[in-house]
Symmetry: C2
Subunit: 348 residues, 2 copies
């Protein structure tokens, strides 16, 4: 386990600030880029991939945004550390599987990160707390421009940026927000809202992205198409839709406060009580209870806890994080005990 340094830092988004932070946990944009000098990673030899990493490391290290950043070859870190990076949304599950010839670069506070030789040569990501996709786009555009000034991107005048998978071709951009929608879930309006979102061409996913189930009332919403529109248009579309969802969630929360105050106080109180007193907590129950507690904080029902503490616990109570906190491998039963200890300690 080499990544202890990350454990002691707080990702910027964990602070729980930014516009509409009570509903929008993060605004995130990633861009897929490839350079002309090498084949796509799935076609490249290990030697070519290693060379690409050298080129990338050199280019990235010269960028202001990446000063003081960490650079790891995935081959050099163990399984728990890989899982740890997945839990922090810094690498993908697919990236963790590819062992040799791939790497990741992570900036201070984890605002910027770049997966190297995942599906594409570069998968750049910028994350900020709250609902601020424009700011995130500015940051990633700047990073992209500066990188482009040092490297020759694979770009086709008609198709745009070329990517290993055709679904990413064009802008190569995927924008996503992580939403906390407990009131829409309680009001049983969530399915209706999400179905509308899908009809409008966006994708809805769980906490850990593609193929994962929504837990803790957390929903990741992102654009599907990357082709035929420019970045600003894609972003305008997603922003408009997210704004509406945020509005629906706000209304649902006001409705809960007005007409079901006691029930909400009861749910929030019970969640808080169990979190502070349980001795065995699996990750699913923990995140569900933390979600309810977060609603309590956001509604002003719970005043002795801050949103940031809950964000931190949502991160820290994940399996790999727990093992890094404990400094050793833990089986499933041990994790449930350590998880409850950590939560009790942090909440009292």
């Amino acid at each position: 386990m080499q990544l202890h340094i990350l454990l002691n830092k707080t990702s910027e988004w964990v602070q729980g600030t930014g516009p509409d932070a009570e509903i929008v946990l993060t605004s995130r944009i990633r861009m897929a880029r490839n350079i002309v000098d090498f084949p796509f990673p799935n076609r490249a030899s290990l030697e070519q991939k290693e060379k690409m990493l050298d080129v990338a490391e050199k280019a990235l290290s010269s960028l202001d945004a990446m000063q003081g950043s960490l650079f790891f070859r995935l081959n050099d870190i163990d399984a728990i550390d890989k899982q740890f990076l997945i839990e922090r949304h810094l690498i993908s599950k697919e990236h963790a599987v590819v062992q040799k010839g791939s790497a990741v670069s992570i900036s201070d506070q984890e605002i910027y990160s770049v997966m190297l030789n995942e599906e594409d040569h570069f998968r750049m990501q910028v994350v900020k707390p709250g609902f601020q996709l424009d700011e995130v786009l500015d940051l990633i555009n700047d990073l992209d421009d500066r990188l482009e000034s040092k490297l020759q991107y694979a770009f086709h005048p008609q198709w745009g940026y070329l990517t290993a998978c055709p679904t990413n071709i064009g802008t190569g951009m995927r924008a996503s927000v992580m939403l906390h929608l407990p009131a829409l879930v309680l009001a049983k309006q969530i399915n209706q809202v999400l179905q509308a979102v899908v009809k409008l061409g966006l994708a809805v996913r769980g906490l850990y992205g593609e193929g994962t189930e929504a837990i803790g009332n957390l929903f990741q919403i992102s654009n599907q198409s990357t082709l035929g529109k420019n970045e600003a248009d894609i972003l305008d579309n997603i922003k408009k839709i997210i704004k509406q969802i945020v509005g629906h969630e706000k209304n649902a929360r006001q409705y809960l406060l007005k007409s079901q105050k006691k029930q909400v106080m009861d749910s929030v109180g019970r969640a808080y009580g169990v979190l502070k007193n349980a001795h065995i907590l699996n990750s699913r129950e923990a995140i569900e209870l933390l979600s309810t507690l977060r609603l309590g904080v956001d509604l002003g029902i719970v005043t002795d806890i801050e949103r940031m503490q809950i964000n931190e616990l949502m991160i820290l109570t994940q399996p790999a994080h727990l093992q890094k906190v404990a400094g050793k491998e833990l089986d499933h039963t041990e994790r449930d005990i350590v998880r409850s200890e950590l939560i009790r300690e942090r909440l009292t």
Copy 2:
């Protein structure tokens, strides 16, 4: 609501003291007696019943044990007060239904109580905390002797004391203990134990006696037959059996502590957390959680709560008690809120 005076006193048994008090809540004996001057209540006119009450009140008031006692005609108290007396085990459900010509006398600390013109002229009861049936028998025998010196009991040299219902004839004595058996329930041994108890001729009932379901891991165990044996033999039999059950429960608790400590701490912690933080609690959930918390106190897992506080809450959170505490009638929804308020207040 006239019985506020009882609300501000604590029944002796609530103190949670006495032998094996961590398992045996109360030892209780009642005796059925009738006097020769009047027909059995179900055969008596209202006028005869009223006369019997006068005779009884006079006789009782001269006894040392009943000095400072309360005497109520059931006709003079309202429905909530009647329910309140049922919840305190001072009158039976049947007694509450008979309106006219019946009464109850209750001593200080509720150690002695006498239902008048329930099924029989006198149903005397003595309750003490913990497992001490011998002491209870001494007290009730003394009360019985003193009453007999003032009144002529209906007694047949062959059959013993005559009672309205033949199931009570003979000694007219019913001895019962209220047991808290959470570990036997958790260990799934409870059915086996209770079946054996029934085979040995004892009756098993829930918290509120005949026909009630066991909740909160509380079981009332009493003798069935009153005929053909003397009081001491009946008591020896029940004492022997209770001693065995207490032993089984102690073993089951030790086993839990040894091999399932974390699970027990988790259950106890969750119960405590919910009790301290819920805003809606129905009576069934409250008593189940209080039962688990009591186990935690008895096992030394919870150290900032005393058994007496839990006994008090088990009494106070019952529907009629809540309404008397609130000083007004409350519907089911209001009670669940007031119940949670009372528990939160008492546990913090």
